[in-house]
Symmetry: C2
């Protein structure tokens, strides 16, 4: 019995009473060949429904558990993918749903390893080497890890990265953040706003940011700030440092606090571009709490295109990345890698659109996207 | 080499080029004993930092991967837990964050298997028997499975169930849904409302519901309806069938549509109790879209206490289950089971509170909870 010693029943709870059941035992009980059992266990198609049911009953009766790691070595597949991302931001929850669906269509199951962008948690995930014994591949949206840490890890197993951070040699899916942010800002300018604030700008230069904050979040923030600045420059508007507010996290409460600070200025803004929808939800709350109106007093634009924004009052104007397409590109690429594709790493770009709604125009109802990128 | 044959490099991508590295190889390279390597791999405490770093370097250099299934058989632990629940409802996302935190404090990692309450997906998860080779235990919030299906599965591995559905012999954590729903309805009555609608009531009798819809969701819905009915009866108000609206899912759009129907009645309601916060968000949208006011024309109460509701305009009055406590009870119990506890299954109840806010009283700002259950 090479797979482990049998443990005595008395020392363990019932579910730990592990008798090593082999496919041979199952075959004997089901009255079929070992190959047929293997075909059923591995979900191959060429087994009749009747035989499959017969084997399934035997598997259940004997409580057969395949040795995953051994199976991994023999077949090279577990058909499990890991999705490593924060779930405290609805953008990622919605993206995760698309990834799960896409993978399921192709016969893969996705397990989610949530990080909340905490570098230490991300580090543990990539350090726990047993994970690569479980998973065929990883889709990773790192917020806290440095490029260096990621570079050491990748190459050891198939990985596709999402979001701003790029690592040499790794497949990558993102949208053009700078173009999208420029578009969002230009939309506010087109409405006649001139004092346009930005919530979510980088805290400090990258060199310092790397120590105190998330590198990938810094990158995202920097790209969006670049687009914000470009739009202002194109319209001949000055970039006013007091209107560019950094935040610690991209959560509703951070948006509320940042907007409070902006409203306390001698000359408050007449519009604000928030770097995600949760920040925008918080900003709207701050404006309304002062008895001011959105958008008459302050027009608000978000980023992410989450459902919460569509149902907010007023509904959010936002940049909506095409999440279904991001998921499709990422899953398709990852499975190519799992199946042995060795082509050079690709930088894939997904489309986005500006969805105009009441928080900037005052006109409720989901309009058709005005701009697509 | 009992763990699998070595595969030839040419036939496989680089990350599949599997040389079976043993702890002995690692020990030789690091210049330590096999026992020390084992101690590091298993994260035992009694290894000096220096030695640990030395072994870690050797593990990385050789790309050592522990054989998980074998380790499972030898040690009886993978230190991985599975959390099986839908993530399209923020209540569960927020609950998941608490579960991940609680488990992490105790040295366990949680992987999330999302189901969206789809029975077929839940079925696949519990049928894939290799999952019990990966995970030490399961926390499960089934929405689609029948009690019968669950009963066949449990007992084979440690499971704690969350929510309304109970299965004989399984540990279970929930709140008193009926009492909470009665409290929510009584709150609306205390504000002088008399035509109180309910959104989310069961579609049909359970016998039929079992075929067309989710059993657990039916149970939840039935318990909340019982509380709604009790509060009306206690106040001497009639239960008006036209004010009790079933929904297909517990999503924002379902709430919006249900509220539209209620507003189309000859005598529309002056208040509505929604069976979750997403339904309430949708109901608010429907009321405001008609140029009516919340709460002056229709007061709205939700259920779940999600952050989105606190930042909604108006902010939602809601029943807030104590999610941190639910997670604490579930994780503590599951780990007792993992460690061999064989005591009889427990039905554990977590507290909840009524959080009164602007959607029912018109007074914004998070008041202290008025009622606790």
């Amino acid at each position: 019995m090479p797979r482990g010693k049998t443990l005595s029943r008395s020392r363990l709870p019932i579910w730990r009473w592990t008798v090593v059941v082999t496919q041979r035992d199952v075959a004997r009980l089901a009255g079929v060949s070992v190959r047929t059992v293997s075909n059923v266990v591995n979900n191959f198609a060429y087994v009749s429904e009747e035989t499959r049911a017969q084997v399934q009953r035997a598997l259940e009766e004997l409580d057969y558990r395949p040795n995953l790691a051994a199976r991994s070595l023999n077949r090279g597949r577990s058909n499990l993918l890991a999705l490593v991302l924060p779930l405290d931001v609805p953008y990622f929850t919605e993206l995760a749903a698309h990834v799960v669906d896409q993978a399921e269509e192709r016969g893969y199951t996705v397990l989610i390893d949530r990080t909340e962008g905490v570098a230490e948690r991300e580090r543990q995930i990539i350090m726990r080497r047993d994970r690569s014994a479980i998973f065929d591949g990883f889709i990773l949206s790192p917020l806290g890890l440095t490029e260096d840490e990621l570079r050491r890890w990748v190459g050891k197993c198939p990985v596709v990265m999402l979001g701003e951070m790029q690592v040499e040699g790794v497949d990558h899916v993102a949208i053009d953040d700078t173009a999208a942010a420029r578009c969002a800002t230009a939309h506010l300018i087109s409405l006649g706003r001139t004092r346009i604030a930005a919530i979510g700008v980088p805290h400090r230069p990258l060199a310092e940011a790397a120590e105190v904050a998330s590198v990938a979040r810094w990158e995202t923030s920097a790209h969006r700030s670049a687009g914000y600045g470009q739009a202002l420059a194109e319209a001949g508007l000055p970039v006013r440092p007091e209107l560019a507010v950094p935040v610690r996290r991209y959560q509703r409460e951070d948006g509320r606090r940042a907007m409070e600070r902006l409203l306390d200025l001698a000359e408050p803004p007449d519009a604000v571009f928030c770097y995600n929808d949760l920040l925008a939800v918080g900003a709207v709350r701050a404006v309304l709490s002062r008895g001011l109106r959105v958008p008459q007093d302050v027009a608000v634009v978000g980023f992410d295109g989450i459902e919460e924004g569509r149902f907010a009052n007023p509904a959010l104007t936002t940049i909506a990345p095409d999440k279904a397409r991001i998921a499709e590109l990422a899953v398709a690429r990852l499975l190519e890698r799992v199946e042995g594709d060795q082509s050079p790493p690709a930088q894939m770009e997904a489309p986005w659109s500006l969805v105009v709604d009441a928080s900037s125009t005052g006109v409720p109802g989901q309009a058709a996207p005005e701009v697509r990128g």
